[in-house]
Symmetry: C2
Subunit: 421 residues, 2 copies
């Protein structure tokens, strides 16, 4: 290290293999795989553990040392500390796809393969974060939160969705009571962090671009609204004597959509859950509960939009004589990626001739925890189709290979920066 | 009979007892009663049968002959055929109240009590229709449909909501396989039909009137609409790339309300049921199913409003790129009460000094089947509070007694008309 060796980097870039990436995505997809090509591999389960074993089995022959912490994160390292941390997660949502998360781990392994093949000295730590999706454990980004001290202190005693305690589920996997607080690692272990992930949205595909440079991850406010009117007989209650909770909720749904549309792409607003009470064809709804979610790269924009939605909703409820109770269930600030890494990714795209665009991530990622903790981090998105979180999600192996070369190139650049410190 | 005997009618009217009505409402409410004052006495159950036994036990001492047909209707008759048919139903919805249906049977018994006390010759048949509410058997007005040949031919082999067959449920109650087709009775058995029922709406109470003269029962169209868009990640899908099935459904909910409001009281429109798919906070809804219901006293108004709602809905779905599939699940024409009976009820109200107003019924009643079959029929509504179909529904015993005197007076008038034929 110290002195750059451009010929070794070129050889490593040439060694990146789209065939190997495709083959390993297929191999991983067999763990928890279903006949429709999808994957159900929930976090903190035996299937996720089996996927970690497979990933470790790829890296150990390359000289990597394997460690698994009490939060079930897999770290495989080679070269002197501090290292470049590269990876993503191996768990999926129920009935999810084979690319979300897994592609970032497979391509991180490919970075190691290519560096190894070209004898490029690169201090690497490949990570597979556990339980990113919040499917079995209720909150997402479990593993990266453990590494950077962001889990609640009582997390071991909290219940999974299936009623088991977190500490019991992990004991079943690792054979001992987990010391989750002891998983924390100093940020000085890492020169930087890189995560490749499918886009999960349509922008790259619609622009015809294989990769995207992530500038930041949106923040989110999620709230539950309970509308209370009065249940009445649908036949005997005149229109002007009703307090219809569903009609008020319907106005709220459209207000959320309108505020999102009027933002000019600065935010998205969604009502994804809605229930009616009592929910009978011949009863005017007396109650309605829904969840609103607002996401934006700007916390100020997000807060303003959320406030405007509540204001519109309270006004319409006043007019209708409906009570509305609001409970904020989640609030996550927006996270900007490191300017330095964003610039390095863009420079690599240009040098390697990979057409790319800047974009923000509307979905949450482990990179939020890493960057919030103070590690310089960035993300590369790979074009995908059919969205994500379903068996049809798809990324092309050639696009993934292009993304891998960018990650390899940036890892090499920041490793040299780190070595010069 | 033949020659009117005003002194006997006056004596009978004076014999109507609000105390006895109140006591009998209480007695009946003990069958299937709950601690909150409500009643769960579903049609075609042992509880409904016990209520029939109680009613028969009140009438037999007055010289009435008791019959129960294979549809579980109770008929108690006195005097020569044709007779005036008076009654209502004894079943309730789950967690219903003590007045809906029962008050009409108790006051019919009170007509018999009063006539008996005053030795007023009045050919009477008191009926307790079975299974009016459509709670255990899926459709309403079961008993009256059996009497007037309006049940589907295969009704015995149809399933109740609990999975049992209709014929098996009835066999358990009457001890033999029911001949439902054999329940049919000729309309020439009846001079006329009178039913007293709580209003189930707020109009009489808001006008300060104890009784109402029912001019007709609204018709209804009920349809299920299935909106199909595309489920997407709520964070990664820009507002302009969404096909949000719930947003389209929300516009439909408001269109139903608007069409109802703009009718100037000519119809009511309701969305009482709505479900979202997949129904997760972070997924743009890919599907939404709701039920719309339109009721009006005018079939033309109702058809026009239903058509307008569908037209608005299809237009907004076109704009949004959402598919909408419509299935009509119920269509019942409006039923006008007999002009003659309506006039006789109004005349009685005036003569007895009971302030009343004409109104239509937004809820369905057995009277629809009776009148549709060709029997001259009418209904008297009694002021009620707290709506209906809940434990709090309430009617005052004095109002019920006033309604009973009107029914008695009209029964006397039409019996004399019939006798003059």
């Amino acid at each position: 290290m110290g002195v750059p060796d451009p010929s070794r980097l070129s050889a490593a870039l040439a060694a990146v293999s789209s065939e190997r990436i495709a083959a390993r995505v297929r191999e991983l997809a067999a763990i928890g795989g279903s006949s429709d090509g999808g994957v159900s591999r929930l976090g903190l389960t035996k299937e996720e553990q089996a996927a970690r074993e497979m990933v470790a089995s790829w890296l150990i022959p390359l000289g990597f040392k394997r460690e698994q912490d009490a939060a079930c994160n897999l770290f495989c390292s080679a070269g002197p500390s501090p290292r470049v941390l590269i990876g993503s997660h191996l768990d999926s949502v129920p009935d999810g796809g084979r690319y979300d998360g897994s592609l970032g781990v497979v391509t991180a392994v490919e970075v190691a393969e290519a560096a190894h093949a070209a004898r490029l000295a690169l201090p690497l730590e490949i990570v597979a974060w556990s339980a990113e999706e919040g499917a079995r454990y209720r909150a997402g980004h479990f593993g990266s939160a453990a590494t950077f001290g962001q889990l609640p202190p009582d997390v071991g005693d909290r219940e999974l969705r299936d009623g088991n305690l977190v500490k019991d589920a992990i004991r079943d996997l690792i054979g001992r009571a987990p010391d989750l607080a002891g998983c924390r690692r100093p940020i000085t272990d890492f020169i930087g962090y890189l995560e490749l992930h499918i886009e999960q949205g349509p922008r790259l595909a619609s622009q015809g671009l294989p990769v995207g440079v992530v500038t930041g991850i949106v923040g989110m406010t999620r709230a539950t609204l309970l509308f209370t009117g009065r249940a009445d007989h649908s036949g005997t209650t005149p229109m002007d004597a009703r307090s219809d909770a569903l009609a008020a909720a319907a106005e709220c749904v459209l207000a959320v959509e309108r505020v999102g549309r009027e933002s000019g792409g600065q935010l998205v607003g969604t009502v994804g859950e809605l229930r009616v009470f009592p929910g009978s064809a011949n009863v005017v709804p007396g109650g309605c509960r829904l969840t609103i979610e607002v996401r934006s790269l700007s916390d100020a924009t997000q807060a303003e939009a959320y406030g405007r939605i509540l204001e519109l909703t309270m006004a319409l409820c006043d007019q209708r004589g409906i009570r509305c109770a609001v409970e904020v269930v989640d609030r996550i600030p927006a996270t900007a990626m490191s300017q330095l890494i964003v610039a390095a990714i863009e420079e690599s795209c240009a040098r390697l001739g990979v057409p790319a665009m800047r974009l923000s991530s509307g979905a949450g990622h482990d990179a939020q925890n890493v960057v919030t903790a103070g590690v310089q981090g960035g993300m590369v998105f790979v074009r995908s189709t059919e969205g994500s979180h379903n068996p049809k999600e798809h990324a092309d192996a050639e696009d993934a290979a292009a993304g891998t070369r960018i990650v390899l190139s940036v890892a090499d650049a920041i490793a040299r920066l780190g070595a010069r410190r």
